[in-house]
């Protein structure tokens, strides 16, 4: 989340991808970094043991959410 905020500050719209287990930590981190309410993409947890087709599905989920987060 810290990296996403740094990139937003650098002028580039960014989609931070988090797993569902990290949703509230990510929201808190965004707030403490100065961007309360900052939207990010959430995919199912965990990814470390996910099968390839599950990862493909998560990539799709991230893409769909990114559309909403990036467009003005």
């Amino acid at each position: 989340m810290h990296d996403a905020v740094s990139l937003e500050k650098a002028g580039v719209p960014t989609v931070a991808v988090m797993t569902s287990a990290f949703e509230d930590a990510a929201a808190l981190m965004a707030r403490v970094c100065g961007l309360p309410g900052y939207g990010f993409a959430i995919v199912g947890h965990p990814i470390s043991s996910a099968k390839d087709e599950e990862l493909a599905d998560k990539a799709r989920q991230a893409l769909v959410q990114a559309e909403r987060l990036l467009l003005g």
């Binding site: 990139l7 500050k9 002028g11 719209p13 043991s49 990539a59």
Partner: protein, 91 residues
């Protein structure tokens, strides 16, 4: 009696998001991986989708050196030339 607040009581400097985009197509896109093993295959799928569906002009894949620390300033600078970026994955 009076007691003192033990918390930091500082408010972070407010930050503004970068301006949003009017189009997602034909963009230079950065993918910043935190370096954990499972991010690469997920980002491989994401890259395919970005090229096929968003007609990405370029996809820049970078990985930071330490997933527990912020990305190195050089990486941030390199990514700043992108139109949009994905970072991941917080797990």
């Amino acid at each position: 009696m009076y007691v003192l607040d033990p918390t930091a009581e500082t408010n972070p400097e407010p930050v503004s998001r970068a301006p949003r985009l009017d189009s997602l197509h034909h963009r230079r896109i950065g993918l910043l991986s935190n370096g954990k093993a499972s991010v690469a295959p997920l980002f491989d799928h994401l890259e395919s989708l970005l090229r096929q569906e968003w007609k990405a002009r370029e996809v820049l894949r970078v990985t930071k050196g330490n997933y527990s620390a912020p990305a190195e300033p050089d990486l941030i600078r390199a990514l700043a030339r992108c139109h949009l970026i994905f970072t991941g994955v917080g797990d």
